[in-house]
């Protein structure tokens, strides 16, 4: 990998992010009665969109907000402006990553039709998000935040709007824990601006994405497992290379499984909830491939897993896949609305590097350029330790970017334990484990779920 390219500045990036910051400053103070400073910041956001198809809508929205006469459509225009700017940042970063990896990028595909979701639910979500924008992060209070609860409860049972429900649920929990807004030390303005604008855009008809348009047939070679979680939801994503049965170019794909959860189910408990619905998790943990036939796949390379269309395959070492197949695998396009730097999670293979360790911070220096290692993203229930990364000689990871810096999230490393070369995988326990610590964690998680199910059995159906 040309790591040096990742360190070079990108033209226009600072300017785009400064415009986003302006929007975030305005959202921090609230859009109900903005002060001149907030109006100026929003005007900067609008100016950055000049010449784009959004220009007129955003300029009008800023006028209305300045006059204290803004409605939901105007807030939506601000969210769209922010989304478009971060989309352009994503595209520039993504082009840079393609140069660095030297891998081909597949052409953008036509958007797939959106899922059917109750318009009333989407309207209720939009109304709450508009209330948030009016109050601003500094104006947060418990009553305002709890306004999301009925919307989320009504949305969660239906898997179709799960994207939006899981987002609102995680977002509302952060807001609730930060009340009152006036007392927040440093407002996480970029983050909440991201979550707010994404949620608002997802309330538009068709934005939620729908049925996958294609199918995949061939051999799936897992690279590693990426876990996501907030208090009341967990998602595991297996990154893999698909070798199509028709002999066409191998391509990067993902397979996901997610589930809502009580916030007391943690660690190994997440794997327990997820693993029954995605056999690929166990295959990835055991170093096996899987064969898929007519598996639904989106234009973005997301397999929508159906156990009926998958069967276990031959052993496949992810490090062999990384060395042999990954360099030629095509990266799928990103759906227009999903273009955001936070969405970058590009499989990369690094070797021949040196590591440095300063307290909890670990870096790898590849061809003279240092990349910080994002160890915090490694699941809690995992054998991959900071020590293993620090002593590693090869790393399979996801390249990410946040706040101006690229970093690498380790999915697996090759290291030496007791004079023996071993591979340690972040998702090794996803399908279950015989590791002593892993077994203990599994037992504790099973006990927690047993108590909750027992309580639910007695109390929930009365």
């Amino acid at each position: 990998m040309r790591a040096d390219l990742l360190a070079e500045p990108i033209a226009g990036l600072d300017e785009a992010l400064a415009a986003v910051d302006g929007g975030d400053q305005a959202l921090t103070a609230g859009l109900l009665r903005p002060q001149p400073a907030q109006v100026a910041a929003l005007t900067g956001l609008a100016d950055a969109l000049a010449g784009s198809p959004l220009a007129g809508r955003v300029a009008e929205a800023v006028d209305k907000i300045a006059a204290g006469a803004a409605g939901e459509d105007h807030f939506l225009a601000v969210a769209a402006a922010r989304t478009a700017l971060l989309g352009s940042v994503h595209d520039a970063l993504s082009a840079r990553v393609d140069e660095a990896t030297g891998r081909p990028h597949a052409e953008p595909a036509a958007p797939e039709p959106g899922a059917e979701v109750s318009p009333n639910l989407l309207a209720a979500a939009r109304s709450w998000l508009a209330d948030l924008a009016r109050a601003g992060w500094r104006g947060l209070d418990h009553d305002l935040v709890s306004g999301s609860a009925p919307v989320i409860s009504a949305m969660l049972p239906d898997p179709a709007p799960r994207r939006l429900a899981a987002l609102l649920d995680g977002f509302a929990a952060e807001l609730a824990a930060s009340c009152p807004g006036a007392g927040i030390d440093q407002v996480p303005a970029r983050r909440w601006g991201d979550l707010w604008s994404r949620a608002l855009v997802l309330t538009l008809p068709g934005a939620l994405g729908g049925a996958p348009g294609g199918t995949a047939t061939g051999r799936l070679l897992p690279l590693g497992v990426d876990l996501h979680e907030h208090g009341t939801a967990a998602q595991a994503q297996v990154h893999a290379v698909l070798e199509p049965a028709d002999g066409s170019t191998p391509r990067l794909v993902r397979a996901s499984v997610s589930v809502p959860k009580p916030d007391t189910v943690l660690g190994a408990g997440l794997w327990q909830l997820l693993r029954p619905h995605l056999s690929l998790l166990a295959a990835a943990g055991d170093g096996r491939s899987m064969d898929v036939e007519a598996m639904p796949v989106t234009a973005e390379g997301d397999l929508v897993w159906d156990e009926e269309r998958a069967r276990p395959g031959a052993p496949a070492d992810p490090f062999v896949t990384a060395r042999v197949v990954l360099p030629t695998a095509a990266t799928p396009p990103v759906a227009p609305l999903d273009r955001h730097p936070a969405r970058l999670a590009v499989p990369v293979f690094l070797e021949g590097y040196t590591t440095d360790k300063d307290g909890d911070a670990i870096g790898v220096t590849v061809a003279g350029h240092r990349l910080p290692v994002d160890l915090d993203r490694v699941p809690v229930a995992s054998p991959l330790t900071p020590a293993a990364v620090a002593s590693s000689g090869a790393c399979l990871g996801l390249l990410r970017w946040d706040a101006g810096t690229f970093s690498v999230q380790p999915l697996a490393v090759e290291t030496v334990v007791k004079k023996k070369a071993v591979a340690v995988h972040a998702g090794a326990w996803a399908g279950g484990t015989t590791d002593k610590n892993g077994v203990k964690a599994e037992k504790a998680a099973t006990d927690a779920v047993t108590v909750l199910r027992e309580r639910a059995g007695r109390l929930l159906r009365k």
Partner: protein
């Protein structure tokens, strides 16, 4: 080099700024549910004697007004003018789940920087807080049922791109 420097501070500029510390695992048998919400520390405590009964306990932030009653809205015999054992147990379990600092900060209890559950309870008791009515019990109990209902929600294998914003974390915020 870092690109994107401007007026906002570091934490303000991260899409992945960590806002919440992860809850810590704890045994759930005694206190199946506890939360910091609605301006209260509130939870559900299993009865020691009757497996079908639970107590709904709460302590308000700032005033420390407390309440304890059964899920059938019978007042708790132990909570007469002072914290009952259910409330004390709930405070200890909240400290296990959220960490003492977060619990103390939420309740607005003035204690040592690294308090224990016991220190938090004593500091609140020392102000001789008033006993509230059990008005909140129904809300707390329905929150508990909502919490349990998460176990029954269906999984999906459709991707949730927004979960990229919610990585695991080992960092204490």
């Amino acid at each position: 080099m870092v690109q994107g420097d401007g007026a906002l501070s570091d934490r303000e500029k991260f899409s992945m700024a960590r806002v919440l510390s992860p809850a810590r695992p704890r045994k759930l048998a005694k206190v199946p549910f506890v939360e910091l919400a609605d301006g209260r520390l509130q939870g559900v405590v299993s009865s020691g004697s009757d497996i079908g009964r639970v107590y709904v306990s709460s302590v308000a932030a700032g005033s420390f007004v407390f309440a304890c009653s059964t899920n059938n809205n019978r007042p708790c015999g132990g909570a007469r003018g002072m914290f009952c054992n259910h409330i004390l147990t709930m405070i200890n379990e909240a400290v296990l789940q959220y960490g003492a600092t977060r619990v103390a900060r939420y309740l607005r209890v003035e204690t040592d920087p690294e308090p224990t559950g016991q220190a938090i309870a004593s500091a609140m008791s020392a102000t001789a807080p008033a006993q509230g009515d059990s008005g909140a019990a129904a809300t707390v109990f329905s929150q508990f049922l909502r919490h349990l209902a998460y176990l029954e929600l269906p999984p999906t294998t459709a991707p949730l791109p927004e979960m990229q914003w919610f990585p695991p974390t080992r960092t204490v915020v």
